[in-house]
Symmetry: C2
Subunit: 209 residues, 2 copies
DNA sequence: GTCTATAACAGGATAGAC
DNA sequence: GTCTATCCTGTTATAGAC
């Protein structure tokens, strides 16, 4: 029953508010208000709002780098891939404020831009590695040109699905179900799987609905 | 050689600035400065910045409604579909400021939210209509479940491709090439086409690169 | 570490002269 | 229609007491 340090509570509260009403709409005053501390106290722990955003981005980056370290020449199963996608969508959902106002946020904190792009590239490479593994195992049959286009599509979808989903289905930004995203990603891959494995993957995808 | 009315120049300049640096980063002062008029003059023509955004949105909505009026039971060719996609991406690129900071913009002008969602739905229906037409003509073979997922994917891609593309490839937001987007959309459809037509579509898609 | 008060500033918007 | 000057508000950030 340890009590959480104020500094950490600020990060926690900020993340929650950013995700629910959008980073640009969250003022330092709103954060301190929500926590029942004074604005001055907030500025004792962080020298600017940007610092809070950056520290949250650090966390995001760490999570992503860990997750995207896909082994180069392992045999990845369809099931493992489903699990991977699940974790990926969860991570994205945890920091969805970044994605919801991506261009805006990156334009105001431009040190983040390079780092974000680097992560995007890592994602794309991870997808490629997985597909290559599938191909080696005879699970997938795909031409190089299609592979390129598929991986771009997977990266785009991983990036924007949650924003798209909240936009079209509900009006509150509180809860996001990663399942639909995983389902959608699997359906992108499906057509390129060998007929036998395709059925297996289709059945698996339905579990995520 | 008629001279353009100030009111229209404001709309024009605003759109250009919104697209290039993002709507939230454009102040009314920046707009008037760019046009070499006074801020007061701007407010003579529009009672608020929001009004400018709304009027631009009106244009966008009109363009979209026109474009998305796809005839229910016509036989649509692959070529017509390519042309349709081309026009769609051009329209989206013209108003890309909306998409780049979608959640943010829609949260600040909430009258737009409903209208935007309505357009999104229209897009999805247009894609469905086209696919149904392909199926009737024996160009496409697809299960209902995949059709649903494909149309969602097409809608998502139409929405976010340009933002994604500018993010990953260049650093300036001035010019957007709609071609890559069309190519990518075609490659989403490709796997569901009948083998004969698939080759035709693949060749066609390359023209857009 | 936390508070209150307030400075400093930016952006949206208005008033009134020309 | 257009200008200059100015107000108002919200937001970031700091100073100094407790």
């Amino acid at each position: 029953m340890k009590k959480i340090k104020t500094r950490d509570r600020i990060l926690q509260t900020s993340l929650a508010l950013f995700n629910s009403v959008g980073e640009p709409n969250v003022t330092t005053l709103l954060i301190s208000d929500e926590m029942d501390i004074s604005p001055g106290n907030l500025y004792y722990h962080f020298k600017s709002k940007g610092d809070i955003v950056e520290e949250l981005f650090d966390d995001y980056e760490r999570d992503m780098v860990d997750l995207l370290a896909v082994p180069e020449d392992a045999d990845i199963s369809l099931e493992q891939q489903g699990f991977f996608l699940h974790l990926l969508f969860e991570a994205v959902a945890r920091y969805r404020f970044l994605y919801q106002d991506l261009v805006n946020v990156l334009s105001r904190y431009d040190q983040l831009q390079v780092r974000f792009k680097r992560i995007q590239k890592k994602k794309m490479i991870a997808f490629k590695t997985i597909c290559e593994s599938f191909r080696r195992q005879g699970i997938m049959a795909i031409e190089p040109e299609e592979l390129e286009s598929l991986c771009e599509q997977l990266t785009l979808t991983a990036c924007y699905w949650s924003a798209f989903d909240t936009l079209s289905h509900l009006d509150d930004r509180e809860s996001v179900d990663p399942g639909r995203g995983v389902y959608q990603m699997m359906h992108l891959i499906l057509p390129y799987l060998e007929p036998g494995h395709r059925e297996e993957a289709r059945l698996m995808s339905r579990d995520y609905l």
